[in-house]
């Protein structure tokens, strides 16, 4: 009974979304965009990232680039409150998803992370679980009493969505750690998408992979943006240019200084004719 209600809730929201034009205003009700306003991220007293404001458009890929230590990963993790794993982490400002502040007083980080999934730098399937169990790991958290047929369906759908189904369908009960690096990363993507988040954060998802696996993941990202809002941090500027719709450039003035968002714009423009000189220097490989 509960489930029925949820499906309708979910269904209606999807219908709403499908009627929205692609460039819907991020602040309007039911879409999957994120708007960040004046965000400062601290670790204890240390200001790691300062004054970030940006609109992340729904169902598009936003790439975040910048030199090492510029705070782009920290910023990414603040979008689903994963940075709070470190003691003393806190933020000022607001991050709104569907107009709801992720840092509002009554907001549970656990709820945030269900709607904003994450894929990490290194593939991290649970080593003690099979491929199958890895995919449904997130779902089992919420609804313990799913029938086998239902989880079967979710597993197939998620693995198909991650372009992994054909490769693993005969060995779903094998441990996920037996797969190749690229397959493991796609498994992690399947695991993240299985809980149907609105947003998918990717923290340098290809940095531990070979070029062929990287290509497969990039291909996959382009398919995933049909349904998810994707934010990716990458060191690889070609990758940002290849996959993203918009690109944000972070920079840091020096060690001990906070990272800042220098500029965010359409990817084409960022790589051809950016407004800021620093961006120009960075994308042309003059530093970083």
């Amino acid at each position: 009974m509960m489930l029925d209600r949820e499906i309708t809730m979910r269904g209606s929201s999807v219908t709403d979304e499908s009627t929205l034009p692609g460039d819907a205003r991020p602040t309007s009700g039911a879409n999957r965009g994120i708007s960040v306003f004046d965000l400062n991220i601290y670790y204890g007293d240390f200001l790691a990232v300062a004054d970030v404001s940006m609109e992340i458009e729904a169902r598009s890929i936003t790439a975040l680039i910048g030199p090492s230590g510029c705070g782009k990963s920290t910023f990414l993790r603040s979008l689903n409150r994963m940075h709070e794993v470190i003691d003393g982490a806190r933020v000022e400002g607001s991050v709104r998803l569907d107009g709801e502040d992720l840092y509002g007083s009554g907001v549970d980080p656990v709820a945030v992370r269900r709607r904003v999934g994450m894929v990490f730098q290194r593939p991290n399937p649970f080593p003690t679980m099979s491929i199958y169990d890895n995919v449904v790991a997130g779902i089992r958290l919420n609804s313990a009493k799913l029938r086998r047929a239902e989880t079967d369906e979710i597993v197939e759908r998620s693995l198909r969505g991650a372009n992994l189904w054909e490769e693993v369908k005969d060995r779903l009960d094998q441990p996920g750690s037996g797969l190749s690096g690229g397959q493991q990363q796609r498994l992690c993507i399947a695991r993240a998408t299985a809980v149907e988040p609105d947003v998918l954060l990717m923290d340098e998802p290809c940095s531990a992979l070979d070029p062929i696996s990287t290509l497969a993941i990039e291909q996959l990202m382009l398919e995933l943006k049909e349904n998810f809002t994707i934010v990716i941090v990458t060191h690889n500027m070609q990758q940002a240019a290849r996959v993203s719709d918009r690109t944000g450039f972070f920079n840091i003035a020096g060690t001990g200084k906070p990272g800042r968002l220098i500029e965010i714009d359409d990817t084409k423009r960022m790589f051809s004719n950016p407004t800021e000189q620093a961006t120009q220097d960075y994308v042309t490989g003059r530093f970083g």
Partner: protein, 364 residues
């Protein structure tokens, strides 16, 4: 990915998931405390233990109920586990507090000059005084015994353990090293009383049946201490980065000098800490000394001749054979227990200090 619509998964909770407020958390804690105090008292049994138990149980169950009502099932489970683990920790701290408190409270009454300076060789006057409730009898001989026996154990175990660790880390390859590693593990598991029996059986062959000596006690303790020294020293030596060794070889320094001048000095803080903790571990051992070194009433400084009392054995006998009046013996037992705990605590502090002071700067 087109079937987003027939999503059978979790509810997409709004971000404003219902959260228990601070006030609610505080209220639960307060009510638990209140229940803890009132229920046992109303049932006519207002002892501390019951108060704690009732308070802890009400805290865990009220947390669950509160969270189920105000939040959801998952949050409730999460909170209950947090509360349970916290209660478990507090529960485990109780014996530590109780032991420490009891030892101090009972031990100070006889922690006096007579105790520190006297032995159990009691003159008729001493016995008379003891009967009348005056302090008599001490543990000086037991402290000397503990010092000698532990010293002997250390003199055997430290070189043996260190050299073995060096062998395992720097030289050992193949079957011999594997065999030694396994045997050190086995040795770690030897029950202390078995070590005592071994030392007894060994020295019976040398000194004849029924012999109990300080050296036998020392050997028994060294059997217990060696594997601890090997383990900790091995671990510390393995932490020394290989680059340091290679840098030394590149300067033409032979291997043995590299080990003595580069590897061991780098690891010295950890090694000394490990040795101190190993001493702390064996200094409180009773059973093997009961078997191998026995009990004497006066000071014996010759480990090769005659029985030698140690502090733990002294504690044991003063408690189980307290003499007349019993309080005299029991008080001496507690004083000796206090002494033991103080020694162990001092060794623990020493280990910490060593670890901090000797740590080579720039490492870790």
């Amino acid at each position: 990915m087109t079937s987003v619509m027939n999503d059978v998964t979790a509810p997409t909770v709004g971000l404003d998931a219902r959260r228990m407020s601070r006030a609610a958390e505080g209220a639960i804690a307060a009510v638990s405390l209140l229940l803890g105090i009132s229920i046992p008292n109303l049932l006519g049994n207002g002892k501390w233990g019951w108060i704690l138990i009732v308070a802890a149980l009400s805290y865990v169950s009220l947390t669950y109920v509160g969270s189920r009502v105000l939040e959801d099932r998952r949050q409730a489970t999460d909170r209950v586990m947090r509360a349970t683990l916290t209660v478990a920790f507090v529960l485990v701290m109780l014996p530590l507090l109780s032991v420490t408190w009891t030892v101090i409270r009972e031990g100070v009454s006889r922690f006096d000059g007579t105790f520190l300076g006297g032995t159990m060789r009691l003159t008729p006057e001493d016995l008379l005084a003891q009967r009348e409730g005056f302090a008599a009898g001490g543990a000086f001989h037991a402290m000397v015994g503990t010092l000698i026996i532990t010293g002997l154990a250390a003199a055997i175990a430290i070189p043996l353990g260190l050299l073995t660790a060096v062998y395992l880390v720097e030289y050992g390859r193949g079957r011999l090293a594997r065999a030694i590693t396994t045997m050190v593990d086995v040795m770690t598991g030897i029950p202390s009383i078995v070590a005592g029996l071994f030392a007894y059986a060994l020295f019976v062959i040398i000194f004849g049946p029924g012999s109990r000596t300080g050296i036998a006690g020392g050997v028994a303790l060294s059997v217990l201490m060696t594997p601890v020294v090997v383990r900790s020293a091995e671990e510390m030596l393995r932490l020394v980065p290989n680059e340091l060794r290679e840098a030394s070889y590149a300067l033409g320094v032979p291997k043995w000098r590299t080990i003595l001048k580069v590897v061991i000095p780098t690891a010295v803080a950890g090694i000394l800490t490990g040795i101190t903790l190993a001493v702390a571990r064996v200094i409180g051992e009773t059973a093997p000394l009961l078997i191998a070194a026995g009990l004497a009433q006066e000071t014996n400084v010759n480990p090769f001749d005659g029985r030698m009392t140690s502090l733990p054995v002294f504690t044991y006998y003063q408690y189980v054979q307290p003499g007349i009046p019993t309080e005299a013996g029991v008080e001496r037992a507690w004083a000796a227990a206090l002494m033991l705990v103080l020694i162990v605590a001092a060794l623990f502090v020493l280990a910490r200090v060593l670890a901090n002071v000797l740590k080579p700067k720039g490492l870790r």
